[in-house]
């Protein structure tokens, strides 16, 4: 099958393409095959890129900031250069020692206690969306388009202090960065770019100070100096980009799973205590995020020599399905009690938004299951998965079989 003019991949070990629709569709099978044959795959694409798939290799790279730089985290034809240690979106693109300073600034706002405050707003957003879904007695709805994608947008927009109505704009910006990176660079008028949008929003906060995350960044200091405009813009861009597609994917993939598993739906409803394990298990099995690094100094991993400036993908989702690290990795075991999954990464860049993402995922599943306890895929072939480094269903038509409760 070809898609968008892309010929099929003949050999995943020597010529993989993680932006290919085949990868989007069947990534777990590709990792399984590679784990047995490689286990570090390579491609000449994007100027030379590696793909480790074992938990041990992914972990070694994520913990080794000496040989691997975060200067580039999204693999594409345009490799960032001379941006380390700060990078274009601190702290995700930053290396030590700068990384630690930029990260610590943000940590308190994303610590569990702070995030708990946002749960009522999240629950309300979920219920507003479900009200809209069910209005008029609809029986077929798109759980990704009409539900999952809006939840993280509403919450992060409120946290940052940007208009929620701009949600469509964010998703366009994000699509450019994550799903079609590098495409069409320089062709857009500046007024239509994320950078322009954010500089307007930040200027507006300067004129009208507010008690939100952007307001906080405008007042923040590092080493006694205010943050540069580039730092603030990069961080706000990161918080928008890092939190939306990722969480949308996790919610969507979880609903995709539940749509196919009546036994799991039943378990969640009858045994709410299992939720704390179920959320982690769904994150393990359907981890949406693959990161990347640029090799800073030649080194060896999993028996291959990675050269300076090569790209390396960090597929946390593949690590989560490594039989060396997890028992029965391809099975979703809702009450799995030994689960060191790495959906949120490993090492110093551990997802800053993990507490927020978990709260959103749990709340989104709880509210959906409470009000739509029975549902199934309307057409399995109509489910469309995203391509690139964030993997999740972008179209997810489901048939509603039963509704219950009210808000």
């Amino acid at each position: 099958m070809t898609d968008g003019g892309k010929p099929p991949i003949k050999d995943w070990a020597t010529d993989f393409d993680h932006t290919h629709p085949d990868y989007a569709r069947k990534a777990p099978e590709v990792w399984e095959e590679l784990r047995q044959t490689c286990p570090v795959a390579h491609t000449e694409r994007f100027g030379g890129t590696w793909l480790p798939v074992r938990h041990a290799d992914v972990s070694a790279i994520a913990h080794d900031t000496e040989h691997f730089s975060s200067e580039g985290v999204i693999v594409n034809e345009f490799k960032p250069e001379n941006l380390a240690p700060i990078g274009y979106a601190p702290p995700i693109t930053s290396d030590p020692p700068f990384h630690q300073m930029a990260r610590r600034l943000l940590l308190p706002a994303f610590a569990p206690k702070e995030i708990d405050r946002w749960e009522p707003a999240t629950r309300k957003a979920c219920n507003d969306l479900i009200d809209d879904l069910l209005a008029g007695g609809a029986t077929e709805v798109d759980a990704a388009v009409q539900y999952a994608q809006h939840i993280p947008v509403r919450v992060i927009a409120e946290m940052l202090g940007v208009p929620e109505e701009d949600g469509d704009k964010f998703r366009t910006f994000i699509h450019r960065v994550l799903e079609a990176p590098g495409e069409g660079i320089g062709e857009l008028p500046y007024e239509e770019t994320l950078d322009y949008y954010l500089r307007q929003v930040i200027e507006d906060h300067r004129q009208h100070p507010r008690d939100d995350l952007i307001g906080f960044l405008l007042n923040a200091e590092m080493d006694g100096n205010p943050l540069t405009d580039d730092h603030i813009t990069g961080t706000v861009a990161l918080l928008l980009i890092a939190g939306i597609d990722t969480t949308w994917s996790a919610i969507g993939a979880s609903l995709w799973h539940l749509a196919q598993r009546p036994d799991h739906r039943k378990r969640l409803i009858e045994d709410p205590d299992v939720m704390v394990f179920a959320v982690e298990e769904l994150l393990r099995a359907y981890a949406p995020v693959t990161m990347a690094r640029i090799v800073a100094k030649e080194t060896e991993v999993g028996g291959v020599t990675m050269k300076e400036r090569d790209w390396v993908l960090l597929p946390f989702p593949a690590a989560n399905r490594d039989p060396e690290a997890f028992e029965r990795p391809d099975e979703v075991i809702l009450d799995r009690t030994r689960n060191r999954h790495v959906a949120f990464g490993l090492g110093i860049h551990r997802c800053l938004g993990s507490n927020l993402a978990r709260m959103e995922l749990r709340t989104a599943i709880e509210e959906w299951m409470r009000r739509i306890p029975d549902f199934e895929l309307a057409d399995p072939d109509a489910v469309r998965w995203s391509t690139g480094q964030v993997r999740g269903p972008r179209e997810l038509p489901v048939r509603i079989l039963a509704t219950a409760g009210s808000r």
Partner: protein
């Protein structure tokens, strides 16, 4: 049973204080802090094992003694 938290390894994944809130708590930045000194009370041993088994960074060590 004794429990040890390696703060060098902890990256604040937060699994331990979610699963064993009587043994661990979050500091202001989300990193874990051990709440007890000395032996783990018998009724918390199960929780301690759960925390150790779910830490992605292998930062929690148990001495079953």
């Amino acid at each position: 049973m004794r429990v040890r938290l390696d703060s060098e390894k902890c990256q604040g994944h937060g699994r331990c204080y979610a699963l064993a809130p009587d043994l661990f708590e979050s500091d202001d930045e989300g990193y874990s802090v051990l709440k007890i000194t000395g032996d783990v009370p018998a009724e918390l041993e199960e929780a301690a094992r759960l925390a150790a088994d779910n830490c992605p960074e292998f930062a929690i060590e148990l001495d079953e003694g």
